[in-house]
Symmetry: C2
Subunit: 202 residues, 2 copies
Amino acid sequence: MLEEEKNTEKTILEAAKRVFLAKGFDGARMQEIADEAKINKSLVHYYFRSKDKLFDAIFEEAFSQFIPKVAETMASDKDIFEKITIFVDTYIEMFINNPHIPTFILHEINRNPDRIVDLLKNSKINPSLFVVSIMQEMQNGAIKPLHPLHLIINMISLCVFPFAAKPIIKGFILNNDEALFNQFIAERKKEVTAFIIRSIKN
Amino acid sequence: MLEEEKNTEKTILEAAKRVFLAKGFDGARMQEIADEAKINKSLVHYYFRSKDKLFDAIFEEAFSQFIPKVAETMASDKDIFEKITIFVDTYIEMFINNPHIPTFILHEINRNPDRIVDLLKNSKINPSLFVVSIMQEMQNGAIKPLHPLHLIINMISLCVFPFAAKPIIKGFILNNDEALFNQFIAERKKEVTAFIIRSIKN
DNA sequence: ACTTGGTTAATCTAAATGGTTAAACCAGTT
DNA sequence: AACTGGTTTAACCATTTAGATTAACCAAGT
């Protein structure tokens, strides 16, 4: 068994993931997925029956991959500033490695909001844990009074949005220079963490 | 001429805008646009020839509608804190009235990055104006030292993302309660402005 | 009443696309 | 060599969809 002779099912899944992530469900074509996997289109149906089922398979995988890290960070007993630092770092790092995820998810949640909400509800992610820890830090005076939910959404916004808006940022501001964009993103880990902490620290 | 007897072209444009914004180019169907406009599908082709041309028509309109306000704010001679306040207010207000715009644009820029970049380049929006004004305020000590570009992206992130992520926020955190979400968004105008200014003010 | 320019609707077409079928293939087993 | 279970391929089918065609309609002008 050669190294490149990977099993077909996995090959299809990986190809499907690339195509679905780049084009979304409606924009993706079964033929394109087959081409991407360099196999016959029938094989895609043979292994996954339908476009919907194939999509479900990659969606859950693509979405779930970043849940554990986030859940872990939020549940730890580090102080809030460390939590924020780790959160921003891991989040941004993950999107560096999966740059299509933000746009993909933001688009697909409109087609089927329940799917993602169910996945989240069945996950280990529990925002109220983080809310409690924010309120404790507020009470003991470590951070300024603020709405915990807004802080959480602010954190996620600052991490996610630049990836979703990459073509605009890169094309309009950074002269279409990929290296400049990468540099910009690299800077962001420290920049965003500092931005948030400066805003909330007492 | 009755009030409801609007001209057909405009009726089509409005219907097309609703459908394209909700479903994206790939997800939209000419038949659905015709149904939405309560007219015969042929009329859509009669007035706009092709799906592409119709899309171009609504895209430019949908995108351009929020350029003037932003440009105006950025070019004014108010101090930076006022600029930020106005920017956040008008941006969020506009998305309250056009909630689908964020997801729509973030998705469509992947299909055709150049289109939007060209629109921006031909617009009155000039980020370097704002960059200059940020650097001046830094020099005269009004705000802390920071990368102007990151500040700009932060501002936009905080305004745009919550709308793009609405189904998640509403479904996962706010128990699917539309009123709660509207309240959350309403709070955000003040919350985001305060969050930013706290972070940068000296 | 008839013509004319523009508008609307019904019908048709060609291509794309998701999915099925049936046959070929191939590795291992007897 | 023949059988067997699973895999792969090419050919095919049914439906959807963008778009073209053609005829009906309608208001204004003559």
